[in-house]
């Protein structure tokens, strides 16, 4: 049984359009694949740099933690030294007073 005329018409039209596009149709698909691959590669590269940035963000917290603890303990140490000097000075004055 012969296919209907409209189907044959459509097939002719597709053949005509393909003859116009020709190898460009293959090029378009290839370009699109290349583009998708490039986007995926860019995403992966950005993800890798993101991992490093994330590590830096975490390390920055560790650094701030270390610095603020150091600052606090340095102040405590300075206060301790100040008390020691005061005590030493007082001891000296007392010694001189008694010595008189």
């Amino acid at each position: 049984m012969e296919p209907p005329d409209d189907l044959e018409t459509l097939r002719s039209e597709v053949a005509r359009l393909r003859s116009i596009v020709g190898p460009d149709e293959h090029d378009y698909h290839a370009l699109r694949s290349d583009r998708d691959a490039a986007v995926a590669a860019a995403r992966d590269a950005e993800r890798e740099s993101g991992r490093l940035r994330g590590q830096i963000a975490e390390m920055q917290v560790q650094l701030v933690r270390a610095r603020q603890d150091q600052e606090r303990y340095q102040r405590l140490l300075d206060r301790y030294r100040g008390v020691r000097e005061l005590a030493s000075s007082a001891k000296g004055r007392l010694g001189r007073t008694i010595g008189r």
């Binding site: 490039a38 740099s49 993101g50 917290v61 933690r65 303990y73």
Partner: protein, 549 residues
Amino acid sequence: MTTLSVVTAVHDPVAEHLAACLASVRRQGDVQHVVVDDASTDPRIVALLDGADAIELHRRGSNGGIVTASNDAVERATGEWLLLLDHDDVLADGAVVSLREHLAAEPDADVVYSDHDLIRADGRLADPVYKPDFSPERLRQTNYITHLVAVRRSMVTALGGFRAGTDGAQDHDLLLRLLEAGARFTHVPRVLAHWRQSPRSVATDVANKPQAFEHGRRVVAEHLARCGIDASVEVGRHPGTYRIRRRADPDARVSVIVPTRGSTGRIWGAERTFVADAIRSLLERSTHRVFEVVIVADPSTPSPVIDRIRRAVDAAGAGLVVVGYDEPYNFSRKVNVGVRASTGEALLVLNDDTELVEPESVTVMLGLLASTGDPAGEVGAVGAKLLYPDGTLQHGGHVYHHELMHAFIGWDGDHPGPQRMLAIERECAGVTAAALMTTRAVFDAVGGFPEDLPLHFNDVDFSLSVRETGRRILWTPHACWYHFEGRSRDRGASMEEWSRVARRFPGGEPVDPYANPNLVPKRSDWLELPGRSGAPPYVIDADGIKRWG
């Protein structure tokens, strides 16, 4: 004065550790210390207990396990409150005084928990764990409460004490049953207990008690079943966590509200039309399939963009509503207009500059929202994990700790976070509206988004309004989008916007019940106040070797 009974089950701990435990209770003063020796075989332990002052010692004839021994201790306790203490842990000096002060201020409390730190192998205190106020969803995902816990004795006995067959997870099981019974949990934000890192403890190495995690999984599953929550439970990726997969109604109609002006930009080296790609990624990848897409489009939105969206919507068999918006830009108003034009019971407010990462995102969020009758309380809104294009974290839940912030912004997107808080579903002070799901009932109850906050902080205000209704806001890492933040509009908050939202807080200063006063204000990375980090310069491993860093 409130009477307390410390209950301790003992079975062959390191003798020095037990001695430290007993001494720490003696130093507290007027408390009953009930010690049940669960048939210890070590003669040093037997001798230590025989010679111990100020304990009520009961010896079991045979080893019954932690649950049986603990129940024996509970039976012999006479105090109004029970304080659970493991045989190698240590109470902080003044712990009981702090507890009594707290109980005087919170007479309706039924459970009190505190912060804790660890006792390292060399005896040094380290790694304090500063906890949030009561977070039932977090408690289901991990026993974040651990030590120290005090419970009203009448509630424990009414529940029948610890349950047989839950050894290793018996505390978690008890806490979940207390939650079901309507117990009021309160939190003391101070370190009141030191948790021993002995070579045999779970604190040191999770491989020490693999059965404990399976018991924990079963305990959580049974709890959810009793609560009428249809879900499966798996042991989580991170030790001590559990992954709960709630079953959501696959036929629930989700209205996706997307304010847009059809802008474009370059992401990963390629041009994209943000709104079209956002909707395409959702419709193509989502495991949930019933959507109504509501675009609230500025007049500048090109018609080819709408056509692309229409094609994607038709291909997915979803519904599409396009609402024209011809007024000055106002995100809140656009959302409200979109919701009015929608018909779904579940509303997903979604920024146009997003791309779906996790296919189960919508299913996960729907499951969390279905909380009617949940003893933990109804959920009013759910937020998702958002990533920058480089995979770093853009949104891990809001933190309102003296500032309005995104938790752990800039950290690696896969990082579990301190206390594994980025690996579990948990309560938050708020979530961003870049990807926020709520119900129409909640949306209407709070009056929608605040139109006097056109650009910034509208999601903060919305979150505060939701919480004021007594509902919880949850953040989940299992729903995830990329968010190309700021690429589709200009940024920068005004002083007026800041003042408007700051007025919602007492004294104009943001507060967050899920942060902790021991954390540095205005930081979102859980940094402790100076001198409270307890972070040692080195760690000592199981072989007693110092490792730096």
